[in-house]
Symmetry: none
Subunit: 199 residues, 4 copies
DNA sequence: CAATAATCGAGACGGTACGTCGCGTCTTGGG
DNA sequence: CCCAAGACGCGACGTACCGTCTCGATTATTG
């Protein structure tokens, strides 16, 4: 996402870590403040971080990738599955996701990234790789373990299951502020496990 | 979304239909062209439509609502459910949606609207109400009919089912260009119907 | 020099005279203030005039031409030759020039324009045409009248004479602040009239 | 103008002569290339010379003095007066100057220096002292010898004469590219020698 | 011969100003 | 009352250089 050179530099003054941190900090501050993503302008970030605009552009190609990096810096790691019950583990994973999406600083980011995917495919790719996929992997783990232990059907199509479960949290049809009820995740997981057909 | 007065006007020159059409046309052209949503600026639309900016602002409050109206003008209406098999009807509905999402002019719009929902909640509301909800209603119909006819369990939670089914098409984790396979919808519907637990 | 359209405008809002004046005023203020030509940045002018940068760029292509226009607005018109004595008239004309060159707001302009002539030839042309040539014309008048009246030699090469007289005031070899003595102009004119050869 | 230490250094690595030359070369190249004085930025010089910016700033305080030094490196020394005829000697001296002014690399420099005199008085002083005054001294020599030999009037005001003669070559009123005709210098000298009054 | 000390190239730093774009509003003359 | 044209103040964009400041790597001269 970032352009920051991580290979050892050959010559010249090395990049300032202080600047790195100040920029990320300033970005998060602006993101949190009234105004949201729109309040994050490179000029504002530079001013608040006490940094030249150049210093930002040297590291990131634009505000989108800057924001994603800033988010990556604060997003909590996904919970570790306990491994006792597939149902409990799925609920735990999805609930963590539900809470992320409810945080205006984090939730809105997902949509932003998706909407600009056409313009900045690399950004979307990095976002998926660094923030989305690790969480999806946890769910894959749970599903595979369930299929192996006999709790779930053995021929379960894990990827399709992932789409059903994950999508249920994206499928907004109201303003983001309208949060999902607490028992929503449990209902989703149960319907997924039992199916719609009569048994 | 549009502000267009539909009540009979009392005095003065009536609004030009030519302008109306030219503006929508220009918007769709820009939307289709390389650059996507970002290429749609009011100035560009006005120039391409051969219209004053005022003429646009007289009808729409900003570019977001203009875009939504433009989309509404081309999005095909959802198919009518045949009513024979729940499975077939669901597949038909979801496939229509899958094809919409694959159209770059339409698919990207969904993400754009969501991402700007924080800034323009009214836009997101209108988008949901005019474009999303009618399609969701068709699926609700199918599910209710299934529950009544005994094909689905009688106590089916329709809204939760809607989230599972609809979300599976939003749950992108790659670039939008990467289209979903043709049998994807069928697999989703089957998993939804049968559930993950062993039967 | 300016780009201001002076032909009747066909459509659209006409250019604001208030803005015109405010911009010129601000330019002159900055020019007069500590810092001189260097303190005149488009941004500073816009800020002080309470005007958008765009409004300036709509009228002038850059700061050089803006400055020249500002100067033209304050430079006093050259004195009218009395017509009694060639010597007196020449002294009057050159003294006006000497006093212009001594004014830091005006004098430095001449050098600025010349130095940027390579980059902005049109600017230099306009400066010469609008500010320099009218004053040179007055001197031409005096010289021609002198040649006709028999006070000067009949075959006088007016253009060469102009170069000798005018140049004597440009031929700086110290800082501009070091002003020329009051009787300098008289000495120049006398040497020009009498020549260097023994008579 | 340069800051180059010429006293024997006590310790440490000596300054690289290669760098010295490369910098001057690069400066002249940029000066000669399309764009003129404006194209000479320290960054561009450093890049073209394959040198760090520090290496330039260690030797010169800014781009103005660098340019003057670069010019000094190529400006031909003034011709030695033959001493036979005042008229011929003056023509020789002024013609050398005329040819200098016609060279775009050298001529434009004069104007640049004058125009930035307000901001960098030291630059103007050095330019005058090192490049202008030696040439003016040659003309002083010629004039004094003429006054002593009786060819010119004994009470000739040498400094005023210098202004008349020298200024005639500066008194541009068109673009610098418009060169002066070849016989121009002769006409100036003759008018200076004979005067404008009828004899 | 090692220590010292100044220089080298490279390039990042905080800044200022640039000239452009698009926003949403305002203001013309003319249907 | 609408239309097109286009100017208005504004805010952000991304770029170019400024002059300063580190870096690690070379050189010469000195103790």
């Amino acid at each position: 996402m970032t352009i920051t050179a991580e290979q050892g530099h050959r010559g010249g003054r090395p990049r300032s870590e202080r600047a790195d941190k100040a920029i990320i900090e300033a970005t998060l501050d602006l993101l949190a403040a009234e105004g949201g993503v729109d309040a994050v302008s490179i000029e504002a970030v530079a001013a608040r971080a006490g940094v030249g605009k150049t210093t930002i552009y040297r590291r990131w190609p634009g505000k989108e990738s800057l924001i994603v990096d800033a988010l990556a810096a604060i997003k909590a790691p996904p919970p570790e599955p306990a491994g006792e019950s597939v149902r409990d583990d799925l609920i735990a994973q999805l609930d963590a996701k539900r809470m992320d999406m409810a945080d205006p600083r984090i939730g809105c980011l997902f949509w932003t990234v998706q909407s600009s995917a056409e313009k900045y495919p690399e950004l979307a790719r990095q976002y998926a790789e660094r923030l989305v996929e690790p969480r999806r992997d946890k769910i894959r783990q749970v599903l595979r373990r369930g299929a192996e232990s006999g709790e779930l059907r053995a021929d379960l199509d894990v990827e399709t299951a992932l789409m059903l479960l994950g999508g249920a949290l994206h499928n907004r049809n109201r303003a983001p502020a309208e949060n999902l009820p607490e028992d929503y995740v449990a209902r989703v997981v149960d319907m997924f496990l039992l199916g719609a057909y009569v048994r």
